[in-house]
Amino acid sequence: MTELSNLDVDTEALCVRASRVDVDGIQLALTGSAETPAYEALMTLVRRLQARAHAQRPSEVVVDLRELEFMNSTCIKTFVTWLSELRDADAVARYPVRFVFDPSKPWQRRTVGALKSFAPSVVIVAD
């Protein structure tokens, strides 16, 4: 058990591993496929992440999608909910969310691009 293990997700098709980056950043590495059966687990992750960030704001959260085969619109909603809350929060409560994607997976570029357009003040995109 690590201090971030309550942010891990293990479903049949989706695995999320949380780890520290730098001193006070958090990385979420997604593996597998994020589809409807993983929705509740992802929403729980977002709620826990927000609670943790409320207590101690991270310098950034990195969402690494490179090993993710696919994400459906149901699971995109979990990120939209999270980014919406973050975007609309007071400046002192905000933190950047950096999406890392695989350029060889075209859907990742388009989905991350839409999330960047949705919440440009908090989303950073990297490949």
């Binding site: 696919f70 459906n72 619109s73 839409a114």
Partner: protein, 193 residues
């Protein structure tokens, strides 16, 4: 699964390439009849994933274009998942057709057909009519994202994603309780081989 001989050949070859992560894939000759497949099924979510994986591999081999194949796979997944979620009978259908005209332009058509309850038919009609009124696909999708953040059930994003991210036009027909949704896109010459 129904299709022409090329389709059936590909359906056997596809899993092996899928297991290799799509690398070193073998190009599938493009039939003069196009590349199509159709399945009729009892709605089940597990099928959605299997169809998307097959479609992704099949069309990247047919078209030699990962970008186009990805668009088709995203659209097939979202449309099929809607058909499964909202089917009121134990029968639905998806048909995917890629045709090539004499100028080398490919047209992709994805069509789902299922029976649905009245409230779901109304919701689909409203969503598709709204998308049709919006001339800017991404602007309409961003509005859907805003609403989705406040929704307590469902994402309401699937159709908007097909239009904005898969870059496909959408149309529909409703006959009694039978819903047909059709997504179409033209692939520019040179984008596919």
């Amino acid at each position: 699964m129904r299709g022409n001989a090329d389709d059936m050949l590909t359906s056997v070859a596809a899993p092996r390439d899928s297991e290799r992560g799509g690398r070193d894939s073998v190009s599938i000759p493009f039939s003069a009849h196009g590349a199509r497949f159709e399945i009729e099924f009892a709605p089940h979510l597990g099928l959605v994933t299997q169809v998307r994986q097959f479609v992704s591999t099949f069309y990247v081999q047919c078209l030699g274009d990962p970008e186009a194949s990805s668009r088709i796979a995203v659209a097939a997944h979202e449309l099929l998942e809607n058909a499964v979620k909202y089917a009121s009978h134990d029968h639905a259908r998806i048909r995917i057709l890629v045709e090539r005209d004499q100028d080398g332009v490919h047209t992709v058509t994805i069509e789902t057909r299922n029976h649905a309850a009245g409230e779901n038919l109304r919701a689909v009609r409203e969503a598709l009519d709204e998308l049709a009124r919006g001339s800017d696909a991404m602007k309409s999708y961003l509005q859907m994202l805003e609403r989705s953040a406040r929704r307590t059930s469902g994402s309401g994003l699937g159709l908007g994603r097909v239009r904005a991210e898969a870059d496909m036009t959408l149309s529909y027909e409703i006959r009694r309780d039978e819903l047909t949704i059709r997504a179409q896109a033209r692939l520019e010459p040179g984008a596919a081989k």
